[in-house]
Subunit: 196 residues, 2 copies
Amino acid sequence: MAKTDVLALAILGILVENPLHGYEIRKRLGSELGPFRALSYGSLYPCLRRMVDAELIVADTAEAEPARPTTSKRSRISYRITDAGQKRLEEELASSGTSSWDDDTFDVRFSMFDRTDSATRLRILEGRRSRLTERLEEIAEGLQRVRKRHDAYTAELHRHGLERVEREVAWLDRLIENERSASRGDTNSSASAGQP
Amino acid sequence: MAKTDVLALAILGILVENPLHGYEIRKRLGSELGPFRALSYGSLYPCLRRMVDAELIVADTAEAEPARPTTSKRSRISYRITDAGQKRLEEELASSGTSSWDDDTFDVRFSMFDRTDSATRLRILEGRRSRLTERLEEIAEGLQRVRKRHDAYTAELHRHGLERVEREVAWLDRLIENERSASRGDTNSSASAGQP
DNA sequence: GTTAGCATGTAAGGAGTTACATGATTTT
DNA sequence: AAAATCATGTAACTCCTTACATGCTAAC
């Protein structure tokens, strides 16, 4: 796996809670991480193998129940995180590393915010925010150019794209504000602000 | 290119207006299509070549200005759409083909709506809408599951994801309504509704 | 008993990126 | 004259999907 494989990171984040077998890991990835990719087995199993080779996880060929010797039961390989894996996860979670503000990586990092310290959370949120405001300018420029070229549909596409990004920035602002008041020592804070 | 390459379709849509060279095509792809991919040359040029092989476009090794014979000027290969390419584009635009409601394909199709007939526009918008409502249910389920598991951040991620999709559905509803009133023969209609 | 869902994997291939390699034109 | 940007391309590589191949377990 070498560098900072997002998928491997997400898997470590899932396995750190309790050991699981591949099939279940895939389901979790699909539901845990927002509207995240429902990735295929053809992607998952090779990744698990790479992680085993890197000794971040180990594969227990389940012997859980000693009783019932027949009906062999040899399927369901339970993957468990190793000390090295746990250390790696902590390292990843500690620093906003190699830009955790890409679309994909951000979601994975965010989903593990309850295991991330406040300072790092803030750094990631702000990094993501500035990434989005850059994009905002690009889209706004494109919108200007497109408006001149008549064509209401293309303009509408840009307008909608712009709005989407603006909303995400507003969302981040809310989260950043929350994070700041929490670190100022306020006790009345949680991730979800909004309705009174 | 064979089937229905989204990139090739987007390029045909750009070249049908006027011939351009690769460098310029890439810029257009970046600005024209919403917050669309700024795709690399390593992707673009091989695609152009495939399209030339398929005779959808031809490469004119620019001789535009007959004057100035020195300073050779031989770079800038101007790509021009062929009759076959034009026919192919029309075919693509005529039917909502092999599901044009994926995230990527939808944007490309939408950006060419002014060259698409009303019935097809409506079919694509509705297809996209039903695709999104499916996703809506999946996310809503995931949100339920996540809420039970404490963890405010993951829940917030889902909530935000849900909201984003809901907004896109609302946007589509607005466009569909517009499209319907336009085909009912109202003269006061355009792609952008909204403010009175 | 047979369908549906659980469970694990591999091989081939698609679609794109990065890094490289090269050169012309325009601006400073 | 140097630097920026325009312009074209190739080769290697990454990441993921699809299709295939296999077998267990539970429900109807």
